[in-house]
């Protein structure tokens, strides 16, 4: 029986692991990979204490810091799939690789995952012109025509990644405004390769062996239109990884876990949540770290009181 199981290996999960180990709580951390969503970033410039770091190096430094702690069980290459509450108030965590772990407390730091469009062709052409990792695959679209779908920071950064490769980039925005940093907006708007299509909702992704077009609806005119292109980069935001506790804790309208922001406690005693999976206002690595530490210290207080 563990005191604490931490679910997630992003900055929040790792920070929690370091603190829990130093408090000598009997702890396990379960994650598929380290680094969280920043893993695929080329260059992170706001990780405090470091001027510039790639997501890959951030992930390595997080893992190294965690592995330097004595007494914590690190279960990586696995994924927590379900959490069950037992009659005595303890929890069972089952994993993809068939483990069942028992624990008094849980910290959910499972982050979020990319939202998908949910239109015909999206699954069929995944990896065949439909791209979910822009930094990975942008270089494969040299001289090609592509579309980026979305209007926030990740979409704008996707366009930025593509500027040096693609010959034409359509940015399909559902509304009439771009969200995202003004600096990036200006860069994207000012580039002659980029054509912004407003009020565009994707209806279908088409192709043969690979993507060759997209159908979208102009929601203002109600008209459906076709674009011939070679790649579709889906950057429409995130979904919290809260499924594994959805029957145990209160979620908000977006599926994020509702927490007391003073302690990170959820509506279910014994479960804490922190980082992007919680209903925190700002999804930031630095905030996830602080909130996760808060959660562990609060759990530690409870253990001490018995």
């Amino acid at each position: 029986m563990y005191d604490l199981i931490i679910i997630g290996g992003g900055p929040g999960g790792v920070a929690a692991g370091v603190y829990a180990a130093r408090k000598k709580m009997k702890t396990a951390l379960v994650t598929d990979t380290f680094g969280g969503q920043s893993l695929v970033s080329n260059d992170i410039q706001n990780w405090i204490g470091t001027k510039s770091i790639s997501g890959f190096d951030l992930a390595k430094s997080l893992e190294e810091h965690l592995r330097a702690q004595a007494g914590i069980d690190i279960i990586d290459g696995d994924l927590a799939l379900a959490v069950a509450k037992r009659d005595d108030g303890t929890f069972g965590v089952t994993t993809k690789n068939g483990r069942t772990l028992e624990t008094k407390y849980i910290l959910l730091a499972s982050g979020s995952r990319r939202k998908r469009l949910g239109v015909p062709g999206e699954d069929q052409f995944d990896g065949k012109g439909v791209v979910f990792c822009t930094t990975c695959d942008a270089p494969l679209f040299g001289g090609k025509t592509v579309a980026v779908v979305g209007g926030g920071n990740s979409a704008l950064e996707g366009v930025e990644d593509l500027l040096m490769y693609a010959s034409k980039i359509y940015l399909l925005v559902r509304s009439e405004v771009l969200r995202g940093d003004p600096v990036t907006q200006e860069k994207v708007k000012g580039d002659p390769k980029v054509e912004i299509i407003w009020n565009a909702v994707v209806e279908e992704i088409k192709g043969g062996a690979f993507v060759n077009g997209i159908k979208y609806k102009d929601v203002k005119s109600g008209e459906s239109k076709d674009l011939a292109l070679d790649g579709v980069f889906v950057e429409i935001g995130l979904l919290p990884n809260s499924d594994l506790v959805k029957d145990l804790v209160a979620l908000d309208a977006f599926g994020k876990v509702v927490v007391d922001h003073k302690t990170q406690q959820t509506s279910c005693p014994g479960i804490w949540a922190a980082g992007d999976v919680s209903d925190v206002l700002y999804d930031q690595n630095n905030i996830s770290v602080g909130d996760s530490v808060k959660a562990v210290l609060n759990a530690y207080d409870k253990i001490k009181k018995g």
Binding site: K128, D137, P139, L140
Partner: protein, 85 residues
């Protein structure tokens, strides 16, 4: 020994993870940068029907993405994780 080829781009973190995994396990591999090598890109697309990296070829078995378990299986490394008692 298995013949291992990885098709990658310089910005792909999962490619880096795969290469580190090979290095850690002393697996020799050939690498093709499909961002710059058009011939290799065509080979990759023909073999895998994929336009995304990494694609890994282990003795003509095509692995899409850094799927560590499948790669371990094809290379005869380790064992599948046993359920904890």
């Amino acid at each position: 020994m298995a013949k291992v080829t990885i098709y990658s781009t310089p910005t792909c973190v999962y490619c880096k993870m795969a290469k580190e995994f090979f290095a850690k396990n002393n697996i020799a591999y050939e690498e093709h940068d499909v961002a710059s090598d058009m011939k290799a890109r065509e080979d990759m697309m023909a073999k895998s029907h994929q336009l995304g990296v990494p694609v890994i070829d282990i003795d003509n078995n095509i692995v899409i993405g850094f799927d560590q378990k499948t790669i371990e299986g094809l290379l005869g490394l380790g064992k599948a994780a046993a359920p904890a008692a």
